[in-house]
């Protein structure tokens, strides 16, 4: 009989390879354990995952369960949830954690309904006070942080709090791998293909400086100001947030963020960008972030190294003017 699990991590594979988001899961395990949580186990899904599972069991020391089905070669949140719920009575997890990705959130929602448990997504930190666990996440575009509780009976959450630190997690050698058997189901969803457009805008990843447009630039014409600023910076290019691309001001190939490009320039100048988590995910590795925004409450100022609370349409022309004055002297 399988002993109950305190925290069950569920990780998917694509082509039988664990996704990069598994790092977030291991981070969740670390945070949970640090907050006093107990047994953590991992459920790995895919079509033929024995090799991947053995590797993970060795590298993480966690006990693993595997769940295989021909329909899980490409991401299929509905099928993942349906199959996982077949094995949950056997595994008896208190908490279930998925990575904070589009698919992870879908699986979490489906499991929440199937197990009649609450669900929280986008958890950035797990803390413990007085024997109770609190899950912290961003709300209102990152302007505020919410601490949430789940009932003692448990719940489902997705984690985006980052990778585990070395030394986190059990160090007791290699974990066990237990394959689980499941019955095939039809979920009404048929994945057909996965694709990604070729990197035609390599300049974003290679630029030393990125001047980035957010919704706050107001209109497409104001991109000229940003181009002028890019013009005074070495090896620079233009980028943009999702809303700026949605508005048609920039092509999606210039989108910086979770669903766009991750960039690591020397300098990232965020102009009129509010700083929603999805955008900040794209600039995690930017060396210096400077933000220009009229809203002092904007979440971007929590990430930026330097902040300028001004209207960029007034500020940037003055910046260019002052630059020209210096060059002339």
């Amino acid at each position: 009989m399988t002993p109950p699990t305190d925290l069950l991590l569920i990780a998917e594979t694509v082509g039988n390879r664990p996704q990069p988001s598994i790092q977030d899961l291991l981070g969740a395990a670390g945070a949970y354990t640090a907050a006093g949580g107990e047994t953590v186990r991992l459920l790995l899904t895919g079509t033929n995952v024995a090799a991947a599972a053995n590797e993970l069991a060795a590298s993480t020391g966690l006990d693993l369960f595997t769940l295989e089905n021909p329909g899980l070669d490409l991401p299929n949140p509905a099928l993942t949830a349906a199959l996982a719920s077949q094995v949950l009575p056997q595994l008896q997890p208190r908490y279930i954690c998925l990575p904070h990705t589009m698919r992870g959130c879908q699986v979490a929602a489906a499991l929440s309904v199937r197990t009649s448990r609450p669900v929280i997504t986008g958890v950035e930190a797990i803390t413990q006070t007085g024997g109770r666990l609190y899950f912290r996440r961003a709300v209102f575009n990152g302007k505020l942080t919410a601490a949430l509780e789940l009932p003692a009976s448990g719940g489902v959450f997705t984690f985006c709090g980052g990778a585990a630190a070395p030394g986190d997690g059990p160090s007791t050698g290699r974990g066990k791998v237990t394959p689980l058997s499941v019955t095939d189901v039809d979920c009404g969803v048929q994945p057909l293909a996965m694709s990604r457009p070729p990197d035609d805008e390599a300049s974003l990843e290679e630029a030393a400086a990125i001047v980035s447009a957010g919704r706050g630039i107001g209109k497409e014409e104001n991109l000229e100001l940003l181009r002028a600023v890019a013009g005074i910076l070495k090896n620079s290019t233009l980028g943009g947030s999702r809303p700026a691309c949605d508005a048609g001001w920039l092509p999606y190939s210039r989108q910086v963020g979770e669903t766009g490009r991750q960039v690591a320039p020397e300098l990232y100048l965020a102009c009129g960008i509010s700083g929603a988590r999805q955008h900040l995910a794209g600039i995690k590795n930017a060396k210096t972030v400077i933000a220009v925004n009229t809203d002092p409450q904007a979440a971007i100022f929590g990430r930026a190294d330097y902040g300028i609370v001004e209207d960029l349409n007034r500020f940037l022309p003055v910046l260019i003017e002052k630059y020209k004055e210096r060059v002339e002297t």
């Binding site: 959130c105 489906a110 609450p118 709300v139 996965m194 930026a304």
Partner: protein, 265 residues
């Protein structure tokens, strides 16, 4: 009735405008409501609504209903949806103040949908206030219908009873899926360009009656996540703000750019 006509529901939400100053209320667990003028339709729901209206324009006989769960003043976004081409507006009243738990909202929406045989339900991929991205998937799970999230392209085929959806994943990846109808799609921004309200629709939206329903789910669902506290983000990593006049800030920024070695000199 034409084989090709569809019955579509769009779930929309009213959220604080992105530039509204957010204040934590006296309970410490939610925000002060503020002025109703500072509330707008959730950005992603605008795209969902536009997609629904486009499908309606494509398939004769298709109807688009919009629904919102919330307090009295959410009727403003329902009317806005009518002004943008929705046929009917439904308000599910929810007067419970504080954190609107997605589990409870989804239960209310699913309860409403149970007997209404919608072919397609559209929601925005995420809300700008709670940012969880799960209300749509929760509704789909409750209704036991297939769901595709973050859809940036869809092609519905009523005669075949399927919808093809391109779903945006992380880092530029897209997954193409086929769903059987009835289905729920959560819509990502950029799928279309939302239209402005037409004059005739605006006139209609002002006077049209909205269906009003009480929220059937209990005020506090036992198995619900709870917000225990709201706070400002930790200040440990907040920006070094430049002070002084605008001109002084510009000079200071130039100095910084020279120091960082990125300025062309």
């Amino acid at each position: 009735m034409s084989l090709s006509s569809l019955k579509i529901l769009v779930c929309i939400k009213e959220v604080p405008a992105s530039d509204m100053h957010i204040r934590i209320d006296d309970t410490g667990r939610w925000i002060e409501t503020g002025s109703h003028d500072d509330y707008v339709m959730n950005r992603f729901d605008e795209y969902a609504l536009e997609e629904a209206v486009r499908i309606k324009e494509h398939f004769a006989g298709t109807t688009v209903e919009v629904l919102s769960v919330g307090p009295e003043h959410c009727r403003a976004v329902i009317r806005r949806a009518l002004a943008k081409g929705a046929d009917t507006g439904i308000h599910i009243q929810d007067h419970v103040p504080g954190y609107p738990a997605p589990e409870a909202v989804a239960t209310a929406i699913a309860g409403f949908c149970q007997t209404r045989a919608y072919d397609l339900i559209l929601t925005g991929v995420i809300s700008e206030d709670l940012m969880q991205g799960i209300t749509g998937p929760l509704v789909a799970a409750r209704l036991k219908i297939p769901c595709a999230a973050a859809v940036i392209r869809q092609r519905i085929d009523p005669d075949k009873g399927t919808v093809l959806a391109a779903c945006e994943l992380e880092s530029g990846w897209t997954e193409e899926v086929r769903l059987t109808l009835p289905a729920l799609l959560t819509v990502q921004s950029g799928i279309n360009r939302p239209r402005y309200p037409s004059l005739s629709n605006m006139m209609r939206s002002r006077h049209q009656e909205l269906a009003t329903l009480p929220c059937d789910t209990p005020a506090v669902v036992e198995n619900e996540s709870r917000v225990t506290a709201l706070s400002e983000p930790a200040l440990s990593s907040s920006a070094n703000f430049f002070g002084g006049t605008l001109e002084e800030k510009a000079e200071a920024l130039l100095d910084l750019l020279i120091e960082k070695g990125v300025l062309i000199t």
